[in-house]
């Protein structure tokens, strides 16, 4: 998105920058807060402010509203704002760069601190230009602590100290500077690893079974609980390679857990989650209820997790739900009308993520999902991803959009 500066005096731009900075500070405070009281109302108020800010600071979003006959200042609730389609990150990547409004492409404004690319397995890859990594880091740490059972290396006063060995079945972030997953893993290793962990794949994704086995064995011998971070595909690949090489199972120290993410993204073979979890349990001695799926999108800076560590399960992935942090709201919308569907009905997932302050906070995904209440009153409600909203079926001799995307270079 490289829209022209909003016509007007530089004071308007200064006002916008000032509003952005004020929102950023408010969000950092919110993300760092421990107590839940009052958060709900604060998020609601901030959401409205963030979207009004984006309508003014992002000329394309402003035009989108005007084209729909909407006036951001008159909309009284954030749910009244139109969501930005996730696909927009492919051809007009939303970015609020500040002065000049040129979107961080070297023509004024604040340049992005990171460029995260989508995987590109569903067509032209998109890019999320991240203006402020501190917001990203602030948004990823609290949910990671909560859902991956992490504690800072340095014991915090009044908190139980729990060393963790963070092992990432990923290439190191400096080898993958455009991967948000590698970046996130880098933050988690830097912040929570006891000093013995790190990245287990080479820069070109090469997986050495011996290297992984040595790292796991070291953690076992040290008696330090492990957090293994990996994509589902890498886990399947590792299990197959280990099996082929006759590697024996290992029992990781109690308290170990696995975070799997990312699905298969059009890879040639997929393994059902219960099968994968069973195999991982057998290979590593980590029970299925300690295997957490993380659902994230490059287009949004916050992540969703299955709260299985916190709630003690369930082991069966089909009974689980994903929950987001307090500054994220998820709605399930009718794909035709974009009105919310009745609870329990499937629809398109639409996320509000206030961490996307400088890109697009209200995102319409192409994922189908269903809302799922928490198992108890005090549990956070969440949603379950049902898959991608696909084109017409059956396909037969007509090439499907999905097959086309897979086959395209």
């Amino acid at each position: 998105m490289t829209g022209s500066p909003i016509p007007g005096s530089s004071s308007i731009l200064e006002d916008l920058e000032s509003e952005g900075a004020s929102l950023r500070d408010a969000l950092l405070l919110l993300m760092g807060r421990e107590e839940a009281e009052g958060v709900e109302a604060e998020v609601e108020a901030l959401a409205l402010r963030v979207l009004r800010y984006q309508a003014r600071a992002n000329p394309v979003y402003g035009t989108l509203l005007r084209n729909r006959g909407l006036d951001a200042g008159s909309l009284e609730h954030w749910t009244r704002f139109p969501p930005v389609p996730a696909r927009a990150f492919r051809d007009a990547s939303p970015y609020i760069g500040g002065e000049g409004g040129k979107g961080g492409d070297g023509e004024g404004g604040k340049p992005p601190e990171a460029f995260f690319h989508t995987s590109g397995t569903t067509g032209t890859p998109g890019v999320h230009r991240v203006r402020d990594l501190s917001l990203y880091h602030a948004s990823l740490l609290p949910p990671a602590r909560r859902h991956l059972g992490l504690r800072e290396r340095e014991p915090v006063a009044g908190q139980e100290s729990g060393a963790t060995r963070v092992l990432a079945l990923l290439p190191p972030p400096d080898a993958l500077p455009t991967s948000s997953l590698a970046h996130m893993a880098g933050v988690l290793v830097h912040r929570f690893d006891d000093g013995g962990g790190g990245f287990l794949l080479s820069a070109d994704w090469d997986l050495e079974v011996v290297r992984v086995a040595e790292a796991l064995e070291r953690a076992r011998a040290d008696g330090v609980p492990v957090l293994l971070l990996a994509t589902a595909f890498a886990l399947v690949h590792w299990l197959e390679r280990s099996q082929a090489q006759g590697a024996s199972a290992i029992r990781l120290p109690p308290g170990s857990r696995i975070m799997e993410t990312g699905g298969y993204k059009g890879r040639s073979r997929e393994v059902e989650r219960p099968v994968l979890y069973h195999a991982l349990s057998g290979a590593l001695g980590v029970p299925p209820e300690r295997i957490v799926n993380e659902y994230g999108m490059t287009e949004m800076l916050s992540q969703f997790y299955e709260p299985v560590l916190e709630e003690g399960g369930p082991a069966d992935p089909s009974l689980r739900r994903h929950v987001g942090p307090p500054w994220v709201r998820t709605r399930v919308l009718d794909p035709v009308t974009l009105a919310p569907v009745p609870p329990g009905e499937p629809g398109l997932l639409c996320h509000l993520d206030l961490a996307n302050l400088y890109s697009a906070a209200l995102l319409l995904t192409e994922d189908r999902g269903v809302s799922v209440p928490g198992p108890a009153m005090d549990h956070t409600p969440g949603f379950r991803v049902l898959g991608r909203g696909s084109g017409a079926v059956p396909r037969g001799c007509s090439l499907s959009l999905e097959a086309w995307m897979r086959a395209s270079p």
Partner: protein, 464 residues
């Protein structure tokens, strides 16, 4: 293997299981059925000769065009449910498909692939003293796709026309017409019906029959996507010829001199709408040349209007609303960014036109498919000469292009398209309904089923 029972027909009458006369489905075994087809079935089809077979097939096929025939009425009753079509959509589909099941058109198809059709029944003179004939496979197994109802019935007719004992597994969504056609063939000729079986099963439940049939087949025809084709190939003998009608996409191109025609716009809307755009012949993307009676953008708007009119007569069914939403919103966002994109219709309408403007002087955008469900992209095409590069990455999947325009531009452009991999250049009017004699994906569909035999002269003087 011979003791393995056939898959039992599924309840509801939607899954056909039409066996040769005398075979009772609950007693028939896989081995028994295949023995019957390759024995009695092959003998009877050979004895009938191609002329009689043609007459029988055409009599059965024509019944689907007769408004008074109960078979047609049953087809029209059942198609909307089985194939997810509206009632008018089902009628349009049946008319379009069955028009090729008549004597005149089946005979034309035969002549198109065999200019001397008597080669089907005996040796006929070739060149320089050679004599030629064709032999059908001893067992032809055809695995249908479900995206366009009627293709299974056409496949059955093709096999029997060349005298091949045929086992057809229709695709899900195409179970009604093959079953009804097989029943009609039983009514017309018990003899010919000895050479055909239509057996449906749900995916993964046809194991023994599927494996045994594909292993014994002399020739296999498979319609479908990559996975279906790979699964069939994996079960077929390594040296058995497999005719693949794999995944394809189609497009349209309106030259400047045709952009003013309302008829072309109406035909394009009909081509996009026919059987909910599910066919390999259904257009995904339409290029419109500037400089004619309508600008590309105005042409797109006219198309939108025609699609809206069409949807009033033949309502859309089972629209891919999620994918339409994603394409629509992304286009709207690009428009807000100043791209020149426009959108008409959307998931609520059951049709959608995406006008995708090109930046001046930019390279033409690569081909992108639609999500179907009457969703079509319209793009300006300043110079048809650039199509070669646009289509280059997809030369193995592009199939039909509806090309509208006057000569000599039409022929010149057709040659560009042909060199880019297009195997059928047609009009929007005919695009959804390729004639019985078309070169399906570039080859004669009847010739693809048979084997030629050459009898060289015994003349001791040697070759001339």
């Amino acid at each position: 293997m011979t003791e393995v029972p056939l898959p039992v027909p599924l309840p509801g009458g939607l899954d056909p299981c039409v066996l040769p006369p005398g075979m009772v489905d609950h007693q028939a075994t896989v081995g028994g059925l295949l023995d019957h087809l390759t024995g009695t079935g092959a003998e009877v089809l050979r004895a009938l000769g191609f002329r009689t077979r043609l007459q029988i097939l055409a009599r059965a096929g024509s019944r689907f065009l007769d408004p008074a025939d109960p078979l047609r009425r049953e087809a029209l009753d059942r198609l909307p449910v089985d194939a997810d079509l509206s009632e008018p959509g089902a009628r349009e589909l049946l008319d379009g498909m069955a028009r090729d099941w008549t004597l005149d058109r089946l005979a034309t198809a035969l002549r198109a692939d065999f200019p001397d059709p008597d080669v089907l029944d005996g040796f006929r003179p070739g060149v320089r003293g050679d004599r030629l004939r064709v032999l059908p496979p001893r067992l032809l197994v055809q695995v249908g796709a479900g995206n366009v109802p009627g293709t299974g019935a056409t496949a059955l007719l093709r096999g029997l026309l060349v005298g091949a004992p045929t086992l057809l597994k229709p695709g899900a969504g195409d179970r009604v017409l093959p079953g009804l056609l097989a029943r009609a063939l039983h009514d017309e000729s018990e003899a010919l019906a000895q050479g055909l079986a239509v057996v449906g099963w749900r995916g993964g439940e046809g194991g023994d029959l599927e494996q045994a049939a594909l292993r014994r087949a002399d020739r296999v025809v498979v319609y479908g996507g990559e996975e279906a084709v790979a699964a069939v190939r994996a079960l077929t003998g390594p040296l058995t010829p497999v005719v693949v009608y794999g995944p394809r996409v189609s497009a349209g191109l309106v030259l400047a001199d045709a952009t003013g025609s309302d008829g072309v716009v109406a035909d394009a809307a009909a081509a996009v709408s026919a059987y909910e755009q599910r066919g390999c012949v259904s257009p995904h993307l339409l290029w419109v040349q500037a400089g004619g009676g309508r600008s590309p953008e105005a042409w797109a708007e006219a198309l939108a209007s025609a699609l809206a009119d069409g949807a009033r007569g033949v309502p859309a069914v089972a629209s891919p609303v999620h994918a339409m939403r994603a394409l629509r919103d992304a286009a709207e966002f690009r428009a807000a960014a100043g791209s020149g994109d426009r959108v008409w219709g959307g998931p609520a309408d059951g049709w959608m036109v995406l006008f995708e403007d090109e930046a001046t002087g930019a390279d033409p955008r690569p081909f992108e498919p639609s999500c179907l469900g009457r969703t079509v992209r319209v793009r300006p095409l300043p110079d048809p000469g650039t199509l070669a590069s646009v289509l280059a990455p997809m030369r193995h999947v592009i199939q039909s292009v509806a090309l509208e325009g006057a000569e000599p531009g039409r022929t010149t452009t057709a040659l560009i398209l042909a060199r880019a991999g297009v195997t059928r250049v047609t009009t929007f009017r005919d695009q959804p309904w390729p004639p019985a004699w078309w070169k399906h994906d570039g080859q004669g569909p009847l010739a693809a089923l048979v084997q030629w035999v050459t009898l060289e002269p015994a003349d001791r003087a040697g070759p001339q």
